[in-house]
């Protein structure tokens, strides 16, 4: 009986990783092969550029500004990583981010202690995710449409309940306020914690593995007994919870809530961060680390354009072009890395 050898007879076993010398070329190879490598390079590029172009860039105050700006993008983007890996999308995460402090405000206004109001609000966010998930999975409506519908519904709910009048956020005082948004580094530290949890879930747990399996081969995963529907619903609940939580922190930080803000303006940068960071829109592949760097990229871009005084009229044009260039560089370098891997 011949051995069922699946390697070509002539090919020697590939050398073990540890045995390879650390020459410059293998170092470059290793870096390029990392999925996050390209976005790191592009982000370092814009940081260096703005650092040189503006003396205000590398100041503590400016870095705090960037950190506060990117916290929500990173958290929503990390949530989208789970959803995108499943080959779904959640457009409502931004509106959940805006709606949850309103819910908290209304409960507080009705006389509930703030801590309870926040806890109940987070439950409300989880229920929104549950609805998104159930309608997507069991009623077979594309998640793009489900979550877009949810976005409009929540936007309408806020307008109705607020009578379209801006209010001040409660909870912006004392030690509580400092921990929940007022402290300069508060939101970004919360965001880092949430991203770490997301990374652990995706990389180290059975649940995370099953997210990848569900997104990579829905039928195959279901055949193997992975509860694919439940996993999708759980992920919609997770992104809603995370978005709602960071929404409360930002509302406390900004200290006021404007019912006219629209969630799509919030969620789309999150999705861009995820995709620029190396997460595929087609499912099966996603990186939380890449998303964090993608968020830094967007934050630096927004901040840098402000610092060097790009006029408001040119701002979105410039931002759009830079994002497109970054994405093209990303896909080109990724295919280069794939070729090197063979």
């Amino acid at each position: 009986m011949a051995q069922a050898s699946l390697t070509t007879p002539a090919a020697p076993a590939p050398p073990h990783r540890a045995e390879r010398g650390l020459s410059a070329s293998t170092l470059i190879r290793t870096i390029v092969q990392r999925r996050e490598a390209t976005v790191v390079a592009v982000t370092l590029g814009v940081i260096i550029y703005f650092g040189i172009a503006s003396s205000a860039f590398f100041t503590t105050a400016n870095i705090i500004t960037i950190a506060q700006y990117i916290a929500a993008i990173a958290v929503i983007g990390a949530g989208e990583v789970l959803i995108l890996v499943l080959a779904e999308i959640d457009l409502s995460a931004g509106q959940v981010y805006l709606t949850s402090p309103w819910f908290m405000y209304l409960l507080w206004h009705a006389g509930m202690p703030l801590g309870w109001a926040i806890a109940l609000t987070l439950v409300f966010c989880i229920i929104i995710g549950l609805i998104n998930g159930v309608v997507t999975v069991w009623l077979n409506v594309p998640s793009l449409i489900v979550t877009l519908g949810m976005t409009y519904a929540l936007f309408g709910l806020v307008l109705v309940e607020s009578n379209a009048i801006q209010v001040n956020t409660p909870g912006a005082t004392g030690r509580f306020g400092w921990a929940f948004g007022i402290g300069s580094w508060s939101t970004i530290l919360w965001a880092l914690g949430i991203l770490t949890i997301g990374w652990v879930i995706l990389k180290r747990t059975r649940f995370g593995l099953h997210i990848t399996a569900t997104g990579g081969n829905l039928l195959g995963a279901a055949e193997a007994g992975v509860p694919v529907r439940r996993i999708k619903v759980y992920c919609f609940m997770i992104i809603s919870l995370a978005s709602g939580f960071i929404g409360i922190l930002d509302a406390i930080r900004i200290q006021s809530m404007n019912p006219g803000n629209t969630g799509l303006d919030i969620v789309l940068p999150g999705i861009v961060a995820a995709v620029v960071g190396g997460t595929a829109l087609t499912g099966g592949r996603g990186t939380i680390v890449g998303t964090a760097i993608g968020a830094i990229f967007l934050g630096v871009l927004e901040d840098g354009f402000n610092l060097i005084g790009v006029s408001a009229n040119w701002f979105y044009l410039a931002e759009g072009v830079v994002i497109l260039i970054a994405m093209v560089a990303n896909t080109q370098l990724t295919s280069l890395a794939a070729r090197l891997r063979r």
Partner: protein
């Protein structure tokens, strides 16, 4: 050519008696009697519409039969669902469908049967799984270049081998292989043929192979059942049948059907 001698005392692992199935007015199966012995590779051939795929779907628990009995290791069983059949040790390996391209060889091998620690937290014991995966694949003589390679980077034959390995690792008693050599080059086919024969002879795995390609069946199987019009029309050991004989059996059946159709038209 050795004489045909299907020794009756050899252990029958799966036996069906008089399996029938009808879909509305269409009678798909008219009473299928089949025996699969332990460590045997049985081929099922038949024209489209002969009932082959309906029969396989009954074995995998996808359809319930209208009548007839299934005996697994001598005990009568009935399957309510695909997972029910799987619990009884009947696993189906679909061409290319089984693996998740973005997961590694190890992750695919352990999919949904991962080893974890920390209880409900589901913390993956990656190191242990990789070691067991390596040992298991060596045991059944499947060599992949890298146990951490994503399934996507493997060849078709390697993917098929991993899919088969996964099914056997998960305590399957009977494997159903659906066109295991489809879309494969000569060298790749040889790998799968070797794996199937090794599993049957050295691990005692029993397999049912469904294929349209007679040459593939002759390479893989010990015995072939030809299904025609919802019955097992011929049961031949490959040792006392030639490829030509098999083709002749099929063609003569077409001829008979054609003539029958002709006489009916004449009436």
């Amino acid at each position: 050519m050795s004489a045909p001698n299907p020794t009756p005392e050899r252990d029958v692992i799966l036996k069906t008696v008089g399996i029938t199935k009808r879909f509305g007015a269409v009678v798909a199966l008219r009473g299928i009697d089949m025996e699969l012995r332990r460590g045997e590779v049985l081929g099922l051939v038949g024209d489209n519409g002969a009932g082959k795929s309906t029969f396989v779907k009954i074995l995998t628990g996808f359809h319930p039969p209208d009548a007839g009995k299934i005996y697994l290791e001598g005990k009568e069983v009935s399957f309510n669902s695909v997972s029910d059949a799987r619990r009884h040790g009947i696993e189906t390996v679909y061409q290319d469908l089984a693996l998740v391209p973005q997961l590694t060889v190890t992750q695919n091998l352990f999919l949904n049967r991962e080893l974890t620690s920390l209880g409900r937290m589901g913390w993956l014991s990656n190191r242990k799984m990789r070691r067991l995966a390596r040992e298991y694949l060596q045991g059944i003589k499947v060599n992949v270049p890298d146990i951490d390679a994503e399934a996507e980077s493997l060849s078709g034959g390697q993917r098929q081998a991993i899919a088969v390995a996964r099914a056997t690792r998960q305590n399957a008693k009977i494997l159903l292989l659906d066109e295991p050599l489809a879309a494969m080059g000569a060298r790749e086919s040889a790998l799968i043929v070797d794996l199937v024969k090794d599993l049957a002879q050295n691990q005692g795995m029993s397999m049912i192979v469904i294929d349209h390609n007679y040459a593939h069946l002759f390479e893989l199987c010990d015995r072939v059942n030809i299904i025609q019009q919802g019955r097992v029309a011929y049961d031949r050991s490959v040792n006392d049948t030639s490829l030509e004989d098999l083709t002749e059996l099929m063609v003569s059946e077409y001829r008979r059907q054609l003539l029958e159709g002709q006489t009916q038209l004449d009436k």
